[in-house]
Subunit: 374 residues, 4 copies
């Protein structure tokens, strides 16, 4: 009887995988989160903060894998709370690596990298921190907070500060550093910080990241279902961290995180350092076609937006637009026609746009140059 | 049973008619162009530049009426060219009032105001000008250009300069005044100017309007079908002139035009003088609900957008937002939830936003204040 | 102007949010499964076969409650396998009532009735059976199969045979009775049978139900997510059992089940005994308006479909239709206009339709009469 | 973090443009009316009954060409009324070929065949008749009705009886023959009959066609706009005549019409003689894949529907379906998965379906055979 059950489960699994793949053919495309690669790096779409029934989440780890596959993510980490175990009565699991192992096993037939992780769950300071790329979550289950971070460092984990703006720990929602955080950073026991967590973005966390040279992180912190919380069927998406890697491997993701090569995609915003953000935007936006008609001094362009972002641009060029006011939206995954009054017929045209939904420092937006030859 | 194969996927029967019928039933409603009234005035949606088979358009005047009804316009004018008659071989009509009369007759059962108009069609200067609220279009069919404008004035018409940026008459697409225009304005024979015509917006025309105190006009200049040219089924709309009137009458529209009480709605842009534009935006956007939760210093607001505009706002308040970067979009006809980190619990909160898709002078955007009491 | 280029067409800016936000705001409404009440009874929408992590499902019981609330179900039962416990290593729970208790607790603020249930999971015969309205699932955890059914009876449970057509137990997918089933029925230890389970419908199970006077059941047997398996965002829905009750209480649901007052809704099919099915269809479909125009002998009707079913009707009236062939679809939740050539102007018109997507016995479809007075 | 408020749900920013732009870019494709070719013949999509401002329509002939191009029609005829000239005051045109000439000129850059036609507009009998493939419409502008038909015959026109069920000429909407019609048919001066005109279908006209061996015609009889009257943006379409031709030429269309090789597509119905209809349905529907899994006796099929028709099928095979009741819908342009309980594993499976939305005689539906090898 038990043998038969096992056989059926395996068979069922295979068929389930087939279904996911079959559905992919219609759905995947629609909900897949896609960004182009940038010069020298792959652009990997990642979510490193997620929960399951093994702490306070509502799903088995297999659902997290299926959500990630539907979203076309490249890498995820399941980061169940070590200290917070509200389902203990039903799941007394002594092994904190369990949700990772189940997820990894479930993902093994798919091109999804699953990284072992855990959420160190403490009062402020230090608040909550995720340690990912760990070797053994159980070894982090110790009382003394300093020893936890030392152990994570010992395991060569990448550690980031979760939701430093969380109202339960900051009544004003303002992220700010305390001595313990500085100490952890100086000891190289804390390398990153969430500037986006679930439905919040924090200018102040972003400033901390810039001041202390931390890796910028954006995560879903999902407890329920991605589809519901982010209204995926209507076009919504979870926050993700875009990681710029040399190869499509876990090791390369880890190296990139330690090297701070990330951009956060949150709602319709791209948030990152200019060094990573400018190449990404230039990989997303380009002039496909440029023409003058007859003797008219109007340059007719087709701008290609090769991403899921609706870019909000402000014209900072010396020319006025014929078909737009100075602020315009280039919709995601589209070719947008734009005409510019260049006063005479030019050989080369360079347009300058401020990208208002991209942020390189609190309140600061990058400028891009788009060029075309005629 | 336990786990079973899942051979039916997304192509299993779905309720085919759902979307389609829901859509059908709401069609009229969806495409209606709606703006709220402002203090002291009605907001009337108008299109004063349209063509029919009686000049170089492709439809009978009745279609123009039906398009206007589907768009929920309040007033239109059919402005066939007086001098340009490419369908003369088939429609040798001597009576230039004919398209107006047919449209008016067709509209008589509906709450749509049809205004007699005609397009004076000349080389630059003066280029093309629309005379509306005329009594007899035939009387404008005279060769001498000065006499035409004098006759329009004699009929107490409102006259506006069409597409001063038209490439056929301005190879660089840059609107600029010539002595004849100044003379017409001084003689009070020209009162308005198109800053938007069909698919073009002109910063330079807007500046001329400000410099010479002209009424701001935006029109479709439709020759074919509104639905096709502006992709109405996908949510597009024709450019319209919003006229702020005391009553829902032709006379009140005329008075408002002479008094320059207009705002142009073009694509997703509102363009007008601050005096008319600020009250309109304030009529569109308001804070519906404002709360603090517990002892948190986060103000949770619901902003109501009571219009067809997707407002692009930049936060210029002294507080940072919890749920957004500093640039955000408040989608049309929706309630948008927004949270602000106000540092302490306030009795009254006033937010300042720059409205980036509203323009009060070339490159200049208005600021609005939104207030809430707790 | 006269003729102008029209280089911007469908990619011109369109009001992006219209459709999507309209959708968002009505989401809950759209996926709600709604059927009208019938004379003398409430129509309750129920799903009595569902799994969680407490057997071989992938979600915590709270997700099942949230799915049910989003689907607007009236009553559910969580029916985890008693004997099949593949997650035992992580959830060694000795208490078989646990998933019910968690779900019930989660639902207590909502108008959703949660009924204690369990799946008796055996080789064929008897195969799998759900016992619902049980008092203690633990008491059903006994080896002897006869004693299990006796215990369920002792608890006054309602018991139904799950997927009698399951290929793992019937290689040809053909449901058929064995002596044990007859014995259980005679002993009043088995009252219902699934004619629909997940993605399968069984004509043969339906015939068994008719032959042995069993209650007709249709269930999702969900293990993963309702939204994914039934493609809810695209308009799909889980199979449900419509139960016709005197009151909106668990007791009344139980009484109705024992009294066989059910109809199954599966894909676009309503399946039931004529006694229950005819009143339901008549509650769904009605003539709202009936007119003759002038002296024409054409009856113009508006048929209201007050349900989520796309009714496929075949005209069996003595009159031919003017606007349709003899087979037509009345889309869900719509008003459909239909014209009939009645030869003369009648005082009363009665139309007969065979309802092709309703089934009252294998291959047999009911006929409805729709009447209108003029 | 542990538990957090989730106040932002569906109104959080979503990627607005996805669906809409995908739609825009495929618009032309979406509304195109497409049917596969059949063995030995091309399937050409045609509409031979349309009006312009040159009789009682509301648009210039160029709009008819643009509508046809958007609908991907292969051939059209503009058939303005010869005798009915309500726009005479404005368009006193003496030349009845004018609307054809304008349309033909407008279409010359496109793969659309424009055929000269005219509507002979008389009281009943004979009522209205379209003569197409005429050489000179002016020559048909004569008073004597017999001479008109003789002249059409002289010009080798194809002539069909328009809306024989029109309530203005038949108060009961029942098409019936009068002696004049029989005489015209016998004289080979009338070859076809509209069984579908605009929003009406006539069983009685179909019977007349069968009894008198007339070509089956379905037309839009459009006066206003195709997009509005048939709600094209929501998926509606005009009635068309599918003509099965040897080549893509006007001559081949004419030959096919005289040879009665047509099927009418109206709403979701295909109406024609079995000889033409069966090959068309077989060209639309096919089994793409057929499998048994393991030792199960369930045949799993994928049925490809290569057309714009939602086929309503009734299973008339000796096997019952596993995944469906006996009546099912195969949605347009999709692959539909279907499972059949074949009792044992067969080498070849032949399924019989009655196609309920196809009609080969009043109230009579064709049967198709779909076969698969394993």
């Amino acid at each position: 009887m038990m043998k038969k059950y096992r056989f059926l489960s395996t068979l069922a699994f295979i068929n389930l995988a087939t279904v996911i793949f079959a559905q992919s053919q219609n759905h995947q495309h629609e909900r897949a989160i896609r960004f182009p690669d940038v010069p020298g790096y792959l652009t990997m779409v990642c979510d490193f903060h997620q929960h399951t029934v093994f702490s306070d989440g509502s799903v088995w780890p297999s659902i997290r894998v299926q959500e990630a596959l539907r979203d076309s993510l490249d890498a995820i980490s399941i980061t169940d709370h070590i200290e917070h175990q509200p389902k203990k009565a039903d799941i007394p699991h002594p092994d904190r690596n369990r949700s990772y192992e189940i997820a990894k096993d479930h993902a093994k037939a798919f091109p999804l990298i699953v990284i072992n992780g855990a959420e160190i769950t403490r009062a402020m300071p230090p608040g909550h921190c995720n340690a990912i790329f760990i070797e053994d979550a159980n070894a982090l289950n110790i009382h003394d907070v300093d020893m936890v971070f030392a152990e994570a460092q010992h395991q060569q984990a990448f550690v980031f500060w979760n939701h430093p703006d969380w109202v339960s720990q900051r009544r004003d929602g303002i992220a700010h550093m305390e001595p313990m955080h500085k100490r952890l950073i100086e000891a190289n026991q804390l390398q990153g910080i969430e500037i986006v967590n679930e439905f919040t973005y924090s200018d102040e966390a972003f400033q901390i990241a810039l001041d202390y040279n931390l890796t910028l992180m954006g995560t879903s912190d999902i407890h329920g279902l991605i589809d519901w919380d982010y209204d995926v069927p209507s076009g919504g998406h979870r926050p993700v961290t875009l990681v710029f890697t040399k190869e499509r491997t876990a090791g390369s993701v880890k190296e990139a995180l330690f090297d701070r090569r990330t951009v956060v995609w949150y709602k319709n915003n791209l948030i990152g350092r200019e060094k990573e953000l400018l190449p990404l935007i230039h990989a997303c936006l380009s002039i496909e076609k440029a023409d003058y008609w007859g003797t008219d001094a109007i340059a007719h362009l087709q701008i290609q937006n090769n991403s899921d972002v609706d870019f909000i641009l402000a014209n900072r060029s010396p020319y006025s637009l014929q078909t737009e006011s100075d602020v315009l939206i280039i919709p995601q995954n589209s070719t947008y026609k734009l005409s510019i009054k260049t006063l005479s017929q030019l050989d080369t045209l360079t347009l300058t746009f401020e990208v208002l939904n991209a942020t390189i420092a609190p309140g600061k937006h990058p400028r891009i140059l788009l060029s075309a030859d005629f």
